[in-house]
C-alpha cells in the first residue's frame, strides 16, 4: 500500500514536469514522424510496402524515437543531485524503478497515439488496420522497452556519454522483443486472426516478465553510489 503511494507520488511528479515542459513527448513524436517520412521516401515514392516491411518501418520509428524520451528520464534526476535526495528519503530503489518504468511506458503510449496514425496515413493504403490486435503488441513492447530501458538509462546517465551510450547498450538487449513485435505486427497488418499472433505474444510476455524482475533486482545497484 505504502509502496503504491510512493510510486504514485514519483509518477505524478515526473508526469507533471513532462506536461509542463513537453520536451520529451514533443521530440519523441516529432522525431518518430520524421523517421516515418524519411522511410516513406526511401522506400520509393508511390510504391506500396508489404505487411512485413510496413511492420518493420513502424517499429524502427517507435523504438528510435522512444530512446529520446528515455534519455531524459534519468538525466533529470541527476540535475542538482536529486537522485541522492530520493535515496535518503523513505522511498526504496525498487519503487523508483517502477515509477520510472511507468513514466516511460506512458510517454511511449502517448507518442504512439501520434505515430500509429501517421504511419497509416503514409503507408496504410494496402495494409489492414486493426487496433484491437495491434494494441496488445504495442503494450507489450512498451512494457519490455520501459523496464529494460529504465535499467539501462540509469547506467548510461552515470557515464559521460549518456545520449550516445543509451541506444548502444539498449538495442542489442531488446532486439528479440523488436523482432517478435515486427512479426506479430506484420500478422495484424495482413489481417490475420488474433490466434496467429499468440506464438509471438507469449515470448514477448515472457521477455517483459523476465526483464521486469531482473530490472527490479539490479536497478538499486545502478543508482546507488557504492
Amino acid at each position: 500500500m505504502k509502496s503504491l503511494r510512493q510510486i504514485r507520488f514519483l509518477l505524478d511528479k515526473d508526469l507533471r514536469i513532462e506536461l509542463r515542459k513537453k520536451e520529451s513527448l514533443v521530440s519523441m513524436a516529432f522525431f518518430g514522424a520524421l523517421i516515418l517520412v524519411m522511410l516513406n521516401i526511401s522506400s520509393g515514392i508511390g510504391r506500396q510496402v508489404d505487411a512485413e516491411t510496413g511492420a518493420g518501418i513502424l517499429w524502427v520509428a517507435i523504438i528510435f524515437s522512444s530512446v529520446l524520451g528515455l534519455g531524459r528520464v534519468f538525466s533529470r534526476e541527476k540535475e542538482n543531485g536529486c537522485v541522492a535526495a530520493l535515496l535518503i528519503s523513505p522511498v526504496t530503489p525498487g519503487e523508483i524503478f517502477v515509477a520510472k518504468t511507468l513514466v516511460n511506458f506512458t510517454l511511449m503510449l502517448l507518442s504512439e497515439l501520434v505515430l500509429v496514425p501517421v504511419f497509416y496515413v503514409l503507408f496504410g493504403a494496402q495494409l489492414s488496420f486493426s487496433l484491437l490486435t495491434l494494441l496488445p503488441v504495442l503494450l507489450l513492447v512498451n512494457l519490455g522497452f520501459s523496464t529494460t530501458g529504465t535499467l539501462i538509462s540509469a547506467i548510461s546517465a552515470g557515464t559521460r556519454r549518456n545520449e550516445v551510450l543509451l541506444p548502444i547498450l539498449l538495442f542489442p538487449l531488446i532486439l528479440p522483443l523488436t523482432a517478435l513485435a515486427v512479426k506479430a505486427t506484420a500478422a495484424t497488418m495482413a489481417a490475420k486472426p488474433f490466434a496467429e499472433l499468440l506464438p509471438q505474444l507469449e515470448p514477448m510476455f515472457a521477455f517483459c516478465v523476465i526483464f521486469s524482475a531482473v530490472g527490479y533486482l539490479l536497478f538499486p545497484f545502478t543508482i546507488r553510489e557504492d
Binding site: K13, R16, N80, A84, A85, I88, S89, E225
Partner: protein
C-alpha cells in the same frame, strides 16, 4: 531511551576507494540534541562519513547505530527521520517552489503537506515566490529552498555537508536561524565545513577529521577557541 546510551553511535567505521582509505576506523558517539561540527582538510573523509550516516554509502567495516531505528533491516524508517543539506540543492528545476516541497513532503508522509510547506517557506522567507519555477529563482533563493526542503520532515537527525559553501549572507543567516531552532528543539545535528567561524558559532561539540581518522573531539564549552584554531591549522598544513 535511557540516558546512558547514545542517540547515534558509530564504531570502527572503515571505507576505502580502491587502495585509497577514506575512513580508517572512526568511532563517534552523539547524544540526542548535540550539535557536532566537524572540520578537516580536503580529502579527510568528511563527506564519506556523512554519506555513510545518510545510508548513501555502505561502509567496508564497522557500524552506525541510531537508537530506535534499525538501519540494517528497515532503512526507510530511519530515513524518514533524516534530513540532509548538501552543496547540491536537491530541488527539481522544472517544479515550482511549492511543488518541490509538496513532493518531498508526500514522500516523507508528512501530514498536511501543503501547510507544512507553506510554514517552511514562511520561515525561509520564500512565501511570496511559492509559484515560481525553481529554475527561475536566484541562487540565494534556491539555497533557501534547499534548506526548507531538508527540513520538510522535521528531521531528528540533520546532516549538513559544507552548507555554507556558496551561500550568500542572507541565506547563511537563514540557515543559522533554522539550525538554532532545531537545536532548541533537541534535534541532533552533524555539520561538516571549512568555515571555522560559522562552524564554531552554533555547534556544541567540535571535531577534527584528518586522514580518515577522528583526531580531535571535544565539547565546545571545554575548548579555548584560539588553541583550537591553531590545532586545526596544524592539521591543514600536514595535509
Amino acid at each position: 531511551m535511557s540516558n546512558g546510551s547514545a542517540f547515534l553511535s558509530i564504531s570502527g567505521l572503515r571505507k576505502s576507494y580502491g587502495a585509497q582509505e577514506a575512513l580508517c576506523g572512526v568511532d563517534l558517539d552523539l547524544q540526542r540534541g548535540e550539535f557536532l561540527c566537524l572540520f578537516g582538510p580536503n580529502g579527510a573523509g568528511k563527506s564519506t562519513l556523512l554519506k555513510i550516516i545518510a545510508t548513501l554509502l555502505r561502509p567496508d567495516a564497522g557500524q552506525v547505530k541510531v537508537c530506535d531505528y534499525d538501519l540494517e533491516e528497515h532503512p526507510e524508517q530511519y530515513r524518514a527521520h533524516l534530513g540532509m543539506v548538501s552543496h547540491q540543492s536537491f530541488v527539481y528545476q522544472d517544479l515550482t517552489v511549492l511543488e518541490n516541497l509538496e513532493f518531498y513532503a508526500a514522500l516523507y508522509g508528512v501530514e498536511q503537506p501543503r501547510e507544512r510547506a507553506l510554514e517552511l517557506l514562511d520561515q525561509v522567507n520564500l512565501a511570496d515566490r511559492y509559484d515560481m519555477l525553481a529554475a527561475n529563482l536566484s541562487r540565494g533563493m534556491q539555497q533557501r529552498l534547499s534548506i526548507a526542503r531538508a527540513l520538510i520532515n522535521d528531521p531528528e537527525l540533520l546532516l549538513l555537508d559544507e552548507p555554507y559553501t556558496g551561500l550568500d549572507e542572507y541565506a547563511a543567516s537563514v540557515l543559522r536561524d533554522q539550525l538554532q531552532l532545531l537545536h532548541d528543539r533537541k534535534r541532533t545535528i552533524i555539520m561538516v565545513t571549512h568555515n571555522l567561524r560559522r562552524g564554531m558559532e552554533s555547534a556544541t561539540k567540535l571535531g577534527i577529521l584528518a586522514r580518515g581518522e577522528l583526531v580531535y573531539l571535544e565539547q565546545k564549552a571545554a575548548i579555548d577557541p584560539t588553541s583550537f584554531e591553531d590545532l586545526y591549522f596544524r592539521h591543514l598544513e600536514m595535509a
